[in-house]
Symmetry: C2
């Protein structure tokens, strides 16, 4: 946790409304940090439907293994999250830690262990001493409050400089429902997976399969399109819960993700996922600039995304942005190395609204002053048109600064 | 060109012997730098056999296009190299610049334009004014000296902090032959291609096809196994010339790369290529540590190389090395994200000779003091055993420091 808040942090924090059916409490278990909370427990008063997406790492953490197993049941009663230790690559001890936590949480919430979901974030490879917090889960389960989202977001931070919260409302068949979410970053963030940790809940009444359909679709352009440092975490977990409390207001239960009545809800959910994902990028370790990389005219959407990621993950592009240098030659390099089809002589590049290159060379009207003005902004849009097809994608990243190196040269110790 | 030499630079520079049949001269054309040479001309007294490997970028520079075209002829009479401008993404103007340079060089060397080879390194996207040096090629062709390798290496530097030279000898059918080479780095360096620029020559008498066979095989474990920043350049060019001067000593001409008489030569060439490639890594922008990443026990050699590259290109692994932090959890992360088969519970990791993790968790005998002692060295070996098969690969990289960010946040302007 940094003492300096990212300059890209949202200017205001939304008032997070209570969400019917979810109560939260936090504790300071001293897992790694001093003088802050590091354990969060969410309890659902009634069994909630649950959907999830996880890291595609071949070396996932013990909590990821645990959640994947329980997800098939589709029912959640409680979630326990700790920061300061990822419980990843901890072998048998890691499985013992998740087993102990699940057992204590199930006893505290009065449910089955298969209805518990777990997540851990922090250093990899250190055994997690779950006895540090297993004993407080009883109290947390009793003390949970509905209006505790901001505090919940604080408890799961690691190198984040601000808590990440978002809220949206929608209507399903005329009944108003709410969606609340929290997330944490801020390094080891790369797409093709979920994100570090994010927990989203709604009081809508939606069946698990439909919920999973919504989440799997929504994660593509949001969490799966952000990258801080190209490093995919062992612990990425995004869980979406539906408490169904809106059924009391007459909301008919939705069983199918393609149900037309979900249209407004889907839009609100996708908007919230994008908001949280961008908050993660805006708090990327050492970030001073936010960069939206859009690729158009590629052979396919998938090709466009790979080219956009090649640009967004290039250390030379990211350091140029940090230096406010409109070094579009490095964008050319990143397009060229992506492995996707590109024709140098059809390529055009924009920084903001300024076209800097066209037809395979510098734009005849190139203005250093105009591009420099773009680079001085906090938010920078880079666009590359490949000129070959209709494939399109946008990926979000941040700059690579000396602070990133400083933070990560001495994170563990 | 930096004023501070990399702390990883070789402790001594070899005396570069003359190589029969190759003469070199340099000039200060003021392409970008002040007070240093920036043009190199190599002239072969007799037509030399030539082999080459180039960047796999889809947006190659104009000189790369030019060389690829001439390589099919297999004959070289002169090479012109400039630093300070890559002549990449320069469209029609770029082709005009290579045409003018080739025409002037051919006139100066008294040969065909198809026997000229060109390379440019420096900023991308700026038109290269070849008239700045086309006029001096006459003089350079006349003034060339055989004992000028070190000066030649100096003229092609960009952000390099020291000139990179290497020399080896071998015997072919009892006749002594020499191999000399130069190279430059120091950013936009990633494998799966050649390197930035490297020029190697021998007085051996070897036919072009055999020469190409030797070069293509030799580049795999050397230049194609180094990475400074995962960014593949538009300009990577490695050319190998054979003047054939040793024929005068009775060396029989070799036509086939698999000829048994090439055994000693092949070993010497591979050794020289590895030496130059490692010099490039040791002068990686901002480098303070050299890292050899070895992966064993992968499903195949190709899988091992992809895992090794995933580790070597991870910003979190590289910043940990910079911070002298034996953060092996990040190695686990990089194995997990590589996309290759891995079984967390079979994975073992070493820093130097210290095994830090085994059987999917921290080594029971883990010693923080012992691993820290490894991390304090200039040269660090990281090994990951995947425990699945016999695939093996080694990749070389450097750490990611604040200096890398500083160098690249303001390289262009």
């Amino acid at each position: 946790m940094s003492t300096t808040v990212s300059p890209l942090a949202p200017k205001s924090v939304p008032d997070m409304p209570a969400l019917r059916g979810v109560r939260m409490a936090t504790a300071s278990a001293g897992i790694k940090y001093k003088g802050r909370t590091d354990v969060l427990m969410m309890v659902f008063d009634q069994p909630a439907a649950v959907a999830g997406v996880f890291t595609r790492s071949r070396c996932p953490s013990a909590p990821v293994d645990f959640c994947r197993q329980n997800l098939s049941g589709g029912v959640a009663r409680a979630v326990v999250v700790n920061s300061g230790n990822a419980n990843a690559f901890t072998g048998k001890k890691g499985r013992e830690a998740t087993a102990l936590t699940a057992k204590s949480a199930a006893a505290a919430a009065g449910c089955k262990e298969s209805e518990i979901f777990l997540a851990s974030t922090g250093v990899i490879g250190e055994p997690l001493d779950a006895t540090k917090f297993a004993g407080v889960l009883d109290t947390l389960a009793k003390d949970g409050r509905e209006d505790f989202w901001y505090e919940a977001a604080k408890a799961i931070m690691t190198t984040d400089t601000y808590p990440k919260v978002a809220t949206r409302t929608a209507e399903i068949a005329g009944v108003k429902v709410t969606i609340n979410g929290i997330a944490k970053g801020a390094g080891m963030i790369a797409p093709d997976m979920a994100t570090m940790l994010s927990f989203v809940a709604t009081d809508a009444d939606i069946a698990p399969a439909a919920l999973q359909g919504l989440l799997s679709a929504g994660v593509g352009p949001s969490f799966n399109s952000v990258t801080v440092d190209s490093d995919t975490s062992t612990s990425d977990t995004l869980l979406l819960f539906a408490t169904g409390a809106a059924a009391a207001d007459g909301q008919p239960k939705i069983e199918d993700a393609n149900d037309a009545r979900l249209e407004g809800f889907k839009a609100a959910l996708n908007d919230l996922l994008m908001n949280l994902a961008l908050q993660v990028v805006r708090d990327g370790e050492g970030a001073r600039k936010m960069v939206a990389v859009t690729v158009t005219g590629a052979e396919s959407d998938a090709a466009a995304k790979r080219i956009a990621l090649s640009i967004a993950n290039s250390p030379l592009v990211k350091t140029a942005v940090a230096g406010e240098d409109a070094n579009w030659g490095r964008v050319v390099m990143a397009v060229g190395k992506s492995g996707e089809m590109a024709d140098r002589d059809r390529l055009a590049i924009w920084f903001g609204d300024v076209r800097v290159a066209v037809d395979g060379e510098r734009d005849p009207d190139y203005s250093e002053a105009a591009t420099t003005a773009v680079m001085e902004q906090d938010d920078i849009a880079i666009r590359a048109d490949i000129g070959l097809g209709n494939g399109k994608a946008t990926v979000y990243t941040c700059d690579l600064t000396k602070e990133y190196v400083a933070i990560n040269g001495d994170y563990r110790s």
